[in-house]
């Protein structure tokens, strides 16, 4: 079976981007919307067709899914090191094609309604296509450098889309923050790539990830400060991944990124780009697992677990629904990292890896749905804040139902998608490390609590002060909601472990009933607490919050990490280093140069008096010189 058409999947959105970008002024907005949707529809069709071919028609060879690589040289560094451009087809890249296509298509359709009448309509769709192209390139990358290239491109698309409302100062600041923070993380990524290239002589995933290959077997050959250089490289690469996936402490850009249009938040900052970090670790999983007995992988697990907890706590306190969802995304990404971190390699050992990818898939569906529902609400009442909402279930039935489905899914209520994937994560954690399992379980409860807090806050409780009666959003907005709700319901029934596993051989999973029951119970407690606090307006919630005192205030202020970063950048980098550099340059470096010039001028000013033009002076000098010379001559002669 031929998979050559996969190359078209990224090229279609690229073509759409070029068409919309070049004929920016000439295309009517309505047309550009159609072009965008049509392009994505084709790409999505191709993605499903490829997945069908890859998993079903071709299937396994000798018990494993084969990795298919097509590539061409893009640039040569040395005889052995080079950047290739190509496509790598294996179970996780095919899965990601589906995720990116589905979400992007839904967001395209949704945006046609959501962005209607916006002056930058064509530009918006151009940027969406640019992003989709870059994301496809990222998931299909065949080597570290190619993934880095598209990694930067998704970063810049994100920058452009966060700053889409560019006349708003806060959007501009958020866009800049997102770019700079992730760029800082990418610095680690890049240095990691340089180390890997130097010590293993290749950037190719296939060669690097081969468990019997030299790069994995010889990991101990060079070490630096007690750790293998490759471990260092993997840790640095993880910094890059942590930046993109908003892991603590590089998470500060994600809440601010909510300044972008809401469909963009659904696409980029919930379902696709932010999972790039998880995907990167999964892509290099054999290296993470085998090198130095998974030292780097342990770090991944703990960072993931901490972020999951940290973000969930903050999510409880936020009052902007998009920010709640942003922190929720961070928390769920932490889950995925945690799952990767506790995973083994072969068969059932590799449960965490599969669970992580499974959760990535289901989370993409229900989190995109949550964002699009939030967008639908914001579209109706023109506010992001919980205090302006309430009682909307009467006015927006479809949004209400779909939001509820997504909320149940993320809370892990069976049989919705989130239940299955989260359960696998918790099982994997339980089998690996009880401490991490307890954190995961606690977070599951918190998740259910915060998501139902906003659900009740938006759709139940006291009705907001609406100027006009809010209306259900038009069909272009609700259709994607319904489709995603469908995926959020059935997504969990896909036998994921058949298709996706660390060793690509697949394995069977069975529900671990005791653990599943505990997890569901934790979720139900969260929902029940929300019900008590928020379904009807009452004072319980405030009392509860007050009970935590200062801790609540800290969490509300996101534990003051923004302030900390601001201090470091403003005070130390800007006013400390940059200002000093600028002043040093003006005063000392340039000052020295100008000083030399002025000194020359002064000296010549002083000695120019000697050239007085008077004959007497010259005669005097002549005679004086002659006398001095004569004295010297006589002196030399006599000795």
């Amino acid at each position: 079976m031929n998979l050559n058409h996969i190359i078209l999947i990224p090229l279609i959105p690229l073509a759409v981007f070029l068409i919309l970008g070049i004929f920016y002024n000439k295309i009517k907005p309505a047309v550009s919307g159609y072009v965008g949707v049509l392009g994505l529809l084709t790409a999505t069709g191709l993605a499903f067709y490829s997945a069908y071919n890859y998993f079903i028609v071709i299937g396994k060879t000798e018990g494993v899914y084969q990795t298919i690589v097509e590539k061409t040289v893009w640039m040569n560094f040395t005889d052995s090191l080079r950047i290739d451009m190509g496509i790598l087809i294996d179970p996780i890249s095919v899965m990601m094609l589906i995720v990116v296509s589905v979400i992007s298509l839904m967001v395209h359709i949704y945006s046609r309604g959501y962005m209607k009448g916006d002056p930058g309509y064509t530009k918006y769709f151009a940027f969406l296509s640019l992003f989709t192209f870059s994301m496809y390139g990222l998931v299909l990358a065949t080597n570290l450098f190619q993934i880095y290239i598209f990694w930067e491109l998704v970063g810049v698309s994100s920058y452009l889309l966060i700053g889409y409302y560019y006349t708003k100062e806060s959007a501009v600041a958020a866009a800049k923050k997102a770019f700079v923070v992730t760029r800082f993380a990418d610095l680690g990524f890049l240095i990691g790539i340089l180390i890997i290239g130097y010590y293993t002589g290749t950037y190719d995933f296939e060669t690097l990830n081969n468990p019997e290959g030299t790069s994995i077997l010889n990991w101990a050959s060079t070490s630096f400060m007690g750790l293998s250089v490759l471990t260092w490289a993997l840790l640095l690469i993880f910094i890059g991944g942590a930046g993109k996936s908003a892991m603590f402490p590089l998470h500060i850009w994600l809440p601010d990124a909510m300044e972008g249009p809401t469909p963009v938040s659904a696409l980029i900052h919930a379902a696709t780009m932010v999972v790039a970090g998880v995907y990167l670790v999964a892509r290099l999983f054999p290296m993470y697992y085998f090198i130095e007995d998974g030292f780097a992988l342990n770090i991944v697990a703990f960072v993931g677990a901490f972020t999951a907890l940290f973000a969930a706590v903050i999510a409880i306190t936020q009052t902007d629904i998009k920010r709640v969802l942003a922190f929720s995304t961070m928390s769920q990404l932490g889950y995925m990292m945690l799952a990767l971190g506790v995973s083994g390699y072969e068969g059932h050992e590799g449960l965490g890896y599969m669970a992580s990818m499974f959760h990535l898939f289901t989370h993409a569906m229900f989190k995109a749905l949550l964002f699009l529902c939030a967008g639908s609400v914001i579209h109706a009442i023109h506010s992001n804040f919980l205090k302006d909402m309430g009682g909307l279930r009467k006015y927006m039935p479809i949004t209400n139902i779909t939001f509820l489905i997504a909320a149940l899914a993320i809370a892990g209520v069976p049989p919705l998608a989130g239940f299955w994937s989260k359960d696998e994560i918790l099982v994997a954690a339980f089998e690996h490390n009880t401490f991490l399992y307890v954190i995961g379980l606690f977070v599951a409860g918190l998740t259910a609590f915060y998501i139902f807090r906003i659900y009740f806050g938006i759709f139940w409780g006291k009705e907001g002060n609406y100027k006009d009666k809010p209306n259900e959003s038009p069909g272009s907005l609700t259709a994607p909601l319904l489709i995603l709700a469908f995926f959020s319901i059935v997504g969990g029934f896909i036998p994921f472990s058949e298709f996706i596993s660390a060793d690509k051989a697949g394995f069977e999973t069975h529900v671990n009933y005791p653990l599943a029951a505990i997890a569901v119970f934790a979720g139900l407690i969260g929902i029940a607490l929300s019900w008590m606090f928020y379904k009807k307006e009452n004072e319980l919630a405030d009392k509860f919050a007050n009970g935590f005192g200062a801790f609540y205030t800290w969490a509300y202020h996101k534990f003051y990490f923004d302030e900390l970063y601001l201090f470091v950048t403003k005070r130390i980098l800007f006013n400390g280093i940059a200002k000093t550099a600028a002043r040093f340059d003006k005063k000392y470096v340039d000052g020295t140069m100008v000083g030399i010039g002025n000194q020359t001028l002064n000296t010549s000013e002083k000695i120019k008096g000697i050239q007085s033009g008077k004959v007497q002076d010259y005669a005097f000098a002549f005679i004086a010189g002659a006398v001095v010379l004569a004295i010297i001559c006589i002196y030399l002669w006599t000795n």
Binding site: F77, T78, F145, Y166, A173, V180, Y198, A581, D585, V589
Partner: protein, 495 residues
């Protein structure tokens, strides 16, 4: 007439014709015709060169040798390799773009275009010279018109800036001359005759003590014009006062003479000296990379920002050259080209913004995306290119430099490399700061609501510069392979 000498004859003819023009219209037409022909020749040269090297494996091709001054064995000796061919194309494109940008040069147009073209003669001559002395002469030809161009057509404290720039570059020339003469008087170390011919000298085994003495002298002599820290301070003032096209030409092309000279003369002819001294200049240039980037953060004048950005980007060129391996060298040449296009583009855009708003102070500007969308959008693209985004030439160059620099397994070099790499973050900060303040946000001044739309000649000039940035960024293979092939001769001495 051989294919290379035309690069000097055609602009010389253009100057001759320009003398007889009467007004701006005639002058710019002549300048345009001249630079168009030049660009055609440069493009043609690339194809001829690629064809020639299939059969000819000499270090330099299309050579021509005429004795110029017999007593000192000075020749008019010219030839090109992959590096100079690429730089000639850069020059031709920047000159043409400069002519477009100066389309409305009302003030003494004839004299302006004459100076501009004389300057380009110096640059063309420099890139095709094989004879050290001839090279030096062209170097001076390129520097002198700068004084007039800034002093007469400049803005602000133009006399001071012109003087500062010229004096510092002349000081460097004096140092350089010492270096060149030092090489010349040791070119008979193997018993042959004294010669200025670079290819001949490269075969001579100049004693190590001599190399150790003259490498830093030659290096600094060239590197001043390549904005080596701490000799870069002529550049911010000079650029700030210079008229747009001059800034473009100066930062885009003239500053490249520094890196090219360092490579072609200092490293090629004094490789042992380079090996001995590289650690010192690597520290200096790596420091310059990060220092320039930090200094750019706090500037408010657009031209100063760009000047300090050049210090940072060109610091990377010298840094890469001193890494003494092919990958880094390839990166250095690519960075020279990339920076040439990018910085010329920046100065062109800054000129357009200044021409409309009469200020270059970023804090006074704001929301330009709304009022001059084309110029602003290109500025954003140029900014993204400058911060090394993949898909643009800067990324290609930087990655070659970083991978090449990492080939040196030495603690000190590693630290310097990490410092240089970390400049990518600082660069992002100062670029996005300008984009955020100046282009995005609300429109700060009501007077800006009615700014003049972009004119066709401005569009042409800008697109001319943008095109190669994207072309190199998307498909770097042919260019980097062409350059790589020319690097082997340089490698012999430093192995």
């Amino acid at each position: 007439m051989d294919i290379l000498s035309l690069f000097i004859v055609v602009p010389a003819l253009a100057v001759l014709v320009l003398i007889f023009t009467k007004n701006l219209k005639q002058a710019r037409m002549v300048a345009l015709a001249g630079s168009l022909v030049q660009l055609g020749m440069a493009v043609n040269l690339i194809f001829s060169y690629l064809k020639e090297i299939e059969t000819n494996d000499a270090i330099m091709v299309f050579t021509k040798d005429v004795v110029w001054f017999k007593n000192f064995n000075i020749h008019y000796n010219i030839g090109v390799d992959g590096i100079s061919v690429a730089l000639l194309l850069l020059t031709a494109i920047v000159v043409l773009a400069g002519v477009f940008i100066s389309w409305k040069m009302e003030d003494l147009p004839k004299e302006f275009f004459i100076s501009l073209i004389v300057l380009s003669i110096g640059v063309y001559g420099f890139f095709i010279s094989i004879d050290l002395f001839t090279m030096f002469v062209f170097f001076e030809i390129a520097v002198i018109p700068m004084y007039l161009l800034i002093g007469i057509w400049g803005t602000g404290p133009k006399e001071f800036s012109a003087m500062k720039l010229t004096l510092m570059l002349m000081g460097a020339s004096a140092v350089l001359l010492v270096g060149i003469l030092g090489i010349y008087f040791n070119s008979n170390a193997d018993g042959g005759a004294l010669t200025f011919n670079i290819l001949e000298i490269a075969k001579v085994n100049i004693p190590f003590e001599v190399q150790r003495l003259f490498f830093p002298i030659t290096f600094i002599g060239f590197a001043v014009i390549g904005a080596l820290f701490p000799f870069h301070t002529w550049s911010p003032d000079g650029h700030a006062s210079a008229p747009t096209a001059v800034s473009m030409l100066h930062a885009g092309v003239l500053m490249k003479l520094g890196g090219y000279g360092v490579f072609r003369v200092a490293i090629f002819l004094l490789p042992e000296g380079a090996l001995h001294w590289s650690w010192f200049f690597i520290i200096l240039s790596a420091f310059g990379v990060i220092y320039g980037a930090f200094a750019a953060i706090k500037q408010t004048d657009l031209k100063y920002i760009n000047a300090y950005s050049s210090v940072s980007h060109l610091g990377l060129v010298l840094f890469a050259l001193l890494m003494l391996n092919k990958t880094a060298w390839n990166g250095a040449i690519l960075q020279s080209l990339s920076h040439g296009f990018m910085t010329a583009l920046f100065f062109a855009l800054i000129g357009m913004i200044y021409g409309r708003t009469h200020t270059r102070d970023v804090t006074k500007l704001g929301g330009l995306l709304k009022v001059i969308p084309f110029i602003s959008a290109v500025y954003v693209i140029a900014g993204l290119a400058s911060l090394g985004l993949p898909g643009f030439s800067g990324f290609v160059a930087e990655m070659n430099i970083f991978v090449g620099a990492f080939e040196n397994d030495n603690g000190l070099y590693r630290i310097a490399t990490v410092i240089a790499v970390s400049a990518i973050v600082v660069t992002a900060v100062y670029i996005l700061r300008v984009v955020g303040i100046m282009l995005m946000g609300p429109v700060k001044n009501e007077a800006y609501l009615n700014l003049e739309r972009v004119q066709w000649y401005e569009k042409l000039g800008v697109l001319l510069l943008l095109l190669p940035i994207i072309a190199i960024g998307i498909a770097p293979l042919w260019l980097s392979e062409m350059i790589l092939k020319s690097l082997d001769p340089f490698l012999k001495g430093v192995l």
